[in-house]
Symmetry: C2
Subunit: 308 residues, 2 copies
């Protein structure tokens, strides 16, 4: 986590506190995930070990931390948001396990470690992904509901973001776009679904867990969508500019697979401009939260500055 002046020019007023904040939120998420998941030795141990292998492989916990920061921006409590933060992380991890499979992106490394199917075999990797997706809904069901944001609404929110019109649509379009000429519009379709939908869902769920006002939820939606798109554009940029060691996953994979990326379509400089513009839109959406939205803003700045 960088504590220096951000690229956007606005100095972080409390850099050390922000690093501490991220650390404490990440640890809270990790503790909660550990409590929600069956122990690794629970029969059948293979699948529970495989679920934990990928879930605790050093992920940045970006989505759950955003969820918690959104709850905070709306005056909510960590305890109310944490099941939803953990549910979203389980969905994110399942999607990574399945994306890495030979029939999909066929990747051998993820976060500097062998991918799930390289360690446990394809059959168990498929089942561990299935299990994490299912577990996400079991964990989400343990959240607190409100009259305005009932369990029913929360389940619809989560299942739609992860479903065939959003997260899975993005993965399908990505898979089918490989080796083909893809337009900037098609690339945006992919990114909006593959990354932005679940990210926006994370911050919306944070707001819902805090029983936020409808206007707050709309603002969080704009924030989440723009941060999500910016995040994916930066992922594309890093794939081109960073080494495998810096990334902790195979660098240049997108180029090697002839995958559609922002740098490939609009060039590196334009891609960086797009990422910055998206982040500015995200900042603007946070105005209504005042100082309570400070950590959400700092997270967006961190995303623009990240190197891996």
């Amino acid at each position: 986590m960088s504590a220096r002046k951000s690229r956007s020019g606005s100095p972080r007023t409390e850099p050390i506190e922000f690093a501490d904040y991220i650390l404490s939120q990440t640890e809270a998420v990790n503790r909660a995930l550990d409590g929600f998941l069956p122990p690794a030795r629970t029969k059948p141990a293979t699948v529970h070990s495989a679920m934990r292998y990928s879930l605790f492989a050093g992920g940045k916990r970006l989505r759950p931390v955003l969820c918690l920061a959104a709850a905070e921006a709306c005056g909510g409590r960590l305890k109310a948001a944490i099941p939803l933060a953990c549910a979203v992380e389980c969905i994110h991890t399942y999607s990574l396990i399945h994306d890495d499979l030979p029939a999909m992106d066929n990747d051998d490394f993820r976060r500097g470690k062998p991918t799930n199917h390289k360690v446990f075999g394809e059959g168990i990797a498929i089942l561990a992904g299935d299990a994490l997706l299912t577990q996400a809904f079991e964990i989400a069901a343990q959240c607190r509901g409100w009259p305005r944001y009932s369990h029913q609404k929360i389940f619809l929110e989560l299942s739609r973001a992860a479903g065939s019109l959003q997260l899975i649509a993005g993965q399908v379009a990505d898979l089918e776009g490989e080796g083909k000429s893809v337009s900037a519009a098609q690339l945006q379709f992919i990114h909006e679904r593959k990354t932005s939908a679940l990210l926006a869902c994370s911050v919306r769920l944070g707001g819902m867990s805090s029983n936020c006002a409808p206007g707050d939820l709309r603002a969080l939606t704009v924030f989440g969508r723009n941060v999500g798109l910016a995040f994916q554009v930066i992922d594309d940029i890093l794939d081109v500019t960073q080494t495998t060691q810096q990334l902790g996953k195979t660098a240049g994979k997108d180029t090697a697979a002839n995958k559609a990326t922002y740098p490939a379509i609009v060039g590196l400089d334009k891609s960086r401009q797009i990422a910055r513009r998206l982040t500015q839109k995200a900042y603007a959406a946070l105005d209504r939260f005042g100082p309570k939205g400070g950590n959400l803003r700092a997270l967006a700045e961190y995303l623009l500055d990240r190197k891996h």
Copy 2:
């Protein structure tokens, strides 16, 4: 659907009406599933076509029909139970798509048709399975809740039955048992999870949708578990005794894969005895429902008599 005297000796009082009943319930489920799922042409069309290909491949709709019959036994209405009946069928279909994959059972035919990955490729088959699992929760969220059976309770019920301690546990144990010597106790562990858990969940959800009394829910649980086990024992028997044409899927696969089955461990005659004993236990659990439980009982009889 057989309309003759059942093997258990009790004459069906209204055989034609029962066949009509099954047909009308199956059609209600099919219509509802068609309405819940995105049209096949919805972008990305591949995954929506693949989801519908397996969901409308001629499945028996056993789980949803049991769910609706359980609702009926508790005095509930079809309309309240149908989202849950459809959710369970989506989960069942996803599990078949993933089970058939080369990394799992590697089966080329299912219900007389090429399996999902043979038609759409492995990548899309994995994603279609993921999408059906996710869709199941979106559909379930559209059910009606009650003070006693809230959306939260219903979600926990469904996610646990489909999760790593039940449905997925059975599939993992099944996968890991291939080619190994498996005891009758281990086989029961597999069958209880791989088949019985989701079947019991189906009838329990039917009861819950009807706001049933706690005693009714306990009786449905006993019924569902025993019918589920009987169903799997009969599946094992049919794999040995029927042809590929009769089954609509590759016969003798279990034997060829050296899979643990009841006939392989305890012999054919003993397997048939076990199936009958389990069904008797299921019948006994239905006593408290009186005539309203007639269709549930008839369904259990049908399961014992089926030939494919």
